[in-house]
Every structure is written in structure tokens, then in C-alpha cells.
Homo-oligomer: 143 residues x 3
């Protein structure tokens, strides 16, 4: 375990609208509000979902038919190639209340609404770096 | 996607007690601490749950027998008819560890405890407005 | 419902690495960064999990085979016997996207990575106290 710390910055509220892509629009909210490092939570609903399951160096893709409640979508913002980048995981529930989940991939399409809250770390620019062993772009703890 | 931003305000910790209604008491914590706009997380346990699943303009009701762990309860606070109002989603788990979830409705009854953490947006008063198309009271991005 | 409030303090980002214990390392991050009261979120992946389900005064233990995505891990930090102590709940997903969850116990072993974000409550030292009725160490609302 390694850690870095900073002061807190701003809080940003964003509303995602019907047919917008979940991941793309968390990234867009971070970009447009200029949050370079931070954390977020989001609730709402999806028309359908595409999530990843990490196994031996890659994310296997799982498609989930909707409609679905976004029970939780949480994650963090750091810089990848100089731009704000969201790493997000999501829990979803169906019409029986049964829960599914995974790593948010492109292809999670917003239903009626998505409500994002983003909290900024002030004066901290965390980055992601490719890790040969896991084949993941891990969060770097270098300031 | 549209967004608004503000400074961060206070952090509030609340303990919900046995037989209290989850949604009612998140609202009560926001009201009594005077948090008009913010975000929250909560963990704890429920005796039983009532959650909603949005489908074609209404929340269908799902009753879930307990006891249940509150794996996550996250959401936001905004103003509805001038009073702090919580929009909350919940993930729950049963005695086998199987997860359920949905939109928090009245009728989620606290078991031994519920631990709420509420983060305030300072000088921001977001409101909810009825949306004809979705029949939902959506979070407005007007300051 | 009872509550206490304070100013916000720092934000801490920690990376948990392969084979580290989830709960132990959230506690370690809080200890080393000197966060005595706060809240956190974490996403990542586990090799396997051990979670608790509270029932009539004790946490029954559930073992979950992995690998698993950590869909969400949220909770709070308070002081127990003078040291920062994490109360954490976790939602997990398997290779089919099916979700499980519960109270985080020792024995949740990090897979490729775990990304923790910790938000500090400034000048607030919440403690935990044993409660005879529930047999739990409940979060005390005394400042």
C-alpha cells in the first residue's frame, strides 16, 4: 500500500441525459470542469450495459440487457495521456431487483437520467501508467 | 451532459437506529444539519427493504425480505419544494451473500445500525423539477 | 437518528497491491495518513473474499471464490481503542457479472489492484463503543 494526499478542491454535479454513454460522459464532466484528480459517485438508470471482468491480463466483456437501475457507480479521476480519465465500477439491478456489476466499459447507455457527483483533489495530478505484469494502466502514486 | 460546481462545505456523520426508515432518516439528517445540496454514502443493515425499479415512467415496487446487509447506499441531496430531499440507491446482500438492489423507497427499515456520511456543497442550491417525458423529478442544473 | 458535523480535511489516494488484505490496508492507509475520522470509496479486484452477514448479534462468515471485481467498497473511519478503524462493506461481481456482497472481514485478498480514496473530517474524532444489545461496536455520535 502506498498513498498520496492533498487538499480538497471543488464539488461538481452533472446530469447525464438519455442515450448518452456513461463512461464517455463521466470523462466529459471531468474534462469540462477541469477536475484532473478526484473521486465520484453516480446513480441513475441504464438502457443496457457493457461491463468488464478482469482475468489474466485482460477485461472480458459482459453485455447486460436492460433496463437497469444504476445501484452505484463509483470511481476515481486521474490523468491519462494528459487528460482527465475515469476509472469506474458499476452495480446494476434488474426488474426483479437482482444485482449485476463490473468494470464500466463503453456501451453503458443512460436511460432517463444519471446523476454524477465529482469531488476534486486540489493541486494533485495523479497519472496512470501501463503495468507490464497486470497489463493494466495502474494508478501511479507519484505526485 | 450538463454540470454545475461549487466549493465544498461541511461533512456530517449520522447514525440511524433500529426500526427507523432509511429514506426518511437520510432526509431528516439533511434537514436537521441544513445540507441543501450534497452527496452521501451509507452502510449498515436492514430488517427488510422496499426498492423501486424504473420502467416506462414509473417506479415498480420490489419488496425484499431480510435481514439484509446494506452493501452500499449512495446518492445526492437537492431541494424539492424548498426542503432537502435525498435521491438514494441501495445494494443489499442476504445470508448467502447474494446481492439485490434498486431505488430506495419508503419501507427500508434499519436493523442494528445505519452509518451515514453526508458531504455538503457550499452555497449551491440545486433543485428538482418534474419532467413530463420521464415522469421523474429530475435534478436541475440551474444554480 | 443523531448526527455530528465538522469541516472537511484532506483527500488521500492509496493504491493497494496484489496479495494485500483489503481491510488491513484500508486501516493502514488511514493510520499512516493520520485520518482519524472520515469516509472512503474503493474499486479494484480480489483474488477471493471473506464477508460477513449480521444475524442476531454476530457476523456469519461467507467465503466467496474469485477472481472478483470490487464493484464498490465504501465505508467510514473512526477511532477504536485510539487507532483509526475502517468499517467497510463491499459489492463484488464474478465472471458472469453476478453480484455478491457483505461486511468486509479479514480475508479479502487484492488481485491486480485496489484504488482507495479517503476523505478526512477535520478536527473530529468519532469513536466506536460496544453495544450490549446488538453486540456490535457502534459508531458513537459523541464528539
Amino acid at each position: 500500500m502506498e498513498f498520496v494526499q492533498s487538499k480538497l478542491g471543488r464539488i461538481v454535479f452533472a446530469r447525464l441525459n438519455e442515450d448518452e454513454d456513461l463512461l464517455e460522459n463521466i470523462n466529459l464532466a471531468a474534462n469540462q470542469s477541469n477536475v484532473k484528480t478526484g473521486m465520484f459517485t453516480l446513480i441513475g438508470a441504464l438502457k443496457h450495459a457493457t461491463v468488464g471482468f478482469y482475468h489474466e491480463g485482460k477485461h472480458e466483456t459482459i453485455h447486460i440487457n436492460g433496463p437497469l437501475e444504476i445501484v452505484s457507480c463509483i470511481g476515481n479521476i486521474s490523468l491519462k495521456e494528459g487528460k482527465p480519465f475515469a476509472h469506474a465500477h458499476v452495480a446494476l439491478s434488474d426488474e426483479k431487483g437482482d444485482a449485476k456489476g463490473g468494470h464500466v466499459m463503453p456501451g453503458c447507455i443512460i436511460g432517463p437520467t444519471g446523476e454524477l457527483v465529482l469531488i476534486e483533489a486540489k493541486d494533485l495530478h495523479l497519472t496512470r501508467k501501463f503495468d507490464e505484469k497486470t497489463k493494466l494502466i495502474l494508478l501511479s502514486m507519484e505526485k
